[in-house]
């Protein structure tokens, strides 16, 4: 089970490292997104309060949607997803491998986005690096858990590019709310860590619910 997940992850990372297609396009998209917000919201050198937290998460969500779409579009081109599903391996293991690949990609994007947002919006994002990492990682897991399941299912559907956000955003609203609130709290001059801890706990609870539901439904959903 762990071996299968690792093999799927290794395959995805190898394909990605050779072309870096998704990494570059996603990152470029996310950076343009942040720039748009900077033009729209920064007035006289000052960003609105809590603006940086919202913008960081919007950029992650949009870039994540793009990365999810591309990752599975690649699997669709020569029907490799079908081949993967026909392999004598546990379906949940395939899901876990795909999920880890997406999470790795998004965390790589966040490593670039966080300093960029901190720089453009003069936000003290890096004053609590440990807590920021906890918020970002737990939020990314929740977002990617739902996203991987739905984009895998959408591979066979018509108009999948439009339907992915339709499916993904209503379900992941709690993740985005908790992520934004926790990040906004970290930007306050005197951070109340009990509040941050509460939001991270909520994010972890959502992660558990989403990953469990996804593992449980991946098998029947991917069967023709």
């Amino acid at each position: 089970m762990i071996r299968t997940a690792w093999l799927v992850l290794k395959k995805d990372l190898t394909v990605e490292v050779r072309s870096l297609e998704i990494a570059y396009t996603t990152l470029f998209f996310a950076v343009s997104c942040v720039l748009f917000f900077a033009f729209a919201l920064v007035k006289e050198g000052k960003a609105p309060e809590d603006g940086a937290a919202g913008i960081l998460w919007i950029a992650i969500a949009f870039a994540g949607t793009l990365a999810l779409g591309r990752t599975f579009e690649r699997e669709r081109q020569s029907e490799t997803l079908r081949a993967l599903l026909m392999a004598p391996a546990d379906r949940p293991a395939i899901y876990v491998g795909k999920l880890l690949g997406i999470i790795a990609l998004l965390i790589a994007a966040e490593i670039v986005l966080v300093p960029l947002v901190a720089f453009l919006f003069q936000a003290p994002l890096l004053s609590h690096p440990f807590w920021l990492a906890a918020v970002l990682i737990s939020g990314t897991i929740g977002f990617a858990a739902v996203g991987t399941l739905f984009s895998a299912m959408l591979v066979r559907a018509r108009s999948r590019d439009v339907l992915l956000p339709v499916l993904l955003y209503p379900i992941t609203v709690p993740v985005i709310i908790a992520g934004v609130r926790a990040t906004a709290e970290l930007l306050q001059p005197d951070v109340e860590l009990s509040l941050v801890r509460f939001w991270v706990a909520l994010l972890l609870a959502l992660d558990v619910v989403f990953v469990t539901l996804a593992l449980w439904t991946f098998e029947p959903l991917m069967t023709d």
């Binding site: 739902v146 739905f150 066979r156 559907a157 339907l163 209503p170 709690p174």
Partner: protein, 218 residues
């Protein structure tokens, strides 16, 4: 259609005709006055909204793991009703809130999670309509995630500091108000059952028609 449908529909029509009189005869609430009476429509439709989401989720789970098309039709019907009752809830709520809180909308946990649940129901219908072949399973997966939201909506007012009234308000109502509320609730419940049955029936007929077309082609 089952035999009970038409008589029950007649009874339900009488119930809805009588509801305004029963609601009007209940006492005015001390601080809110007339506006409080929105509650007799808001709470029952909100309950039916959550019931629809649960019915849709359970039917979807049974469809995914059992594969019976009957459950799929039930889930589809319930999702449409979730959109309908959710719309009533989200219209009556702000009408009351404008008077009670001074604003149409507040980003309160319960309001946000209800809106999110309503959007999931819309997403379900959009996927069914535009997803093409295989969208029934896709939508069923979505419904399961949507159902996970329901307990959250219900407990949200009791566990979080929100401005929405708590669920414990209902048992503490004076007898006349409680009477009017439960009468409305029963009317909405019967309406829900009727609409659900009617919508499933429509979907059954459509399946039959599709089968006939297919056999004609062969």
């Amino acid at each position: 259609m089952p035999k009970w449908f038409m008589p029950l529909a007649g009874i339900n029509a009488v119930m809805f005709a009588a509801a305004p009189f029963i609601i009007a005869s209940a006492n005015y609430e001390a601080t809110m006055g007339l506006v409080q009476k929105i509650f007799y429509f808001h709470m029952p439709s909100a309950s039916m909204f959550l019931v629809s989401a649960v019915v849709c989720g359970i039917a979807s789970a049974r469809y995914l793991f059992g594969g019976s098309p009957r459950q799929d039709r039930l889930a589809y019907a319930a999702a449409e009703l979730a959109v309908l009752f959710g719309a009533i809830t989200l219209v009556t709520g702000p009408l009351w809130a404008r008077k009670a809180w001074g604003v149409w909308w507040a980003w309160d946990v319960r309001l946000t999670s209800s809106l999110m649940g309503w959007m999931v129901a819309w997403a379900y219908l959009l996927v069914r309509k535009y997803g093409g072949p295989g969208s029934d399973k896709l939508a069923a997966g979505l419904a399961l995630f949507g159902m996970a939201n329901v307990p959250f909506v219900y407990i949200s007012v009791n566990y979080w500091r929100t401005i929405h009234p708590k669920t414990s308000v209902v048992p503490t109502l004076p007898a006349d108000m409680g009477m009017a509320l439960w009468f409305s609730f029963a009317s909405f419940l019967v309406l829900f059952v009727l609409l659900l049955r009617l919508r499933v029936y429509l979907e059954e007929e459509r399946t039959k028609l599709d089968a006939l077309y297919l056999s004609l082609d062969e």
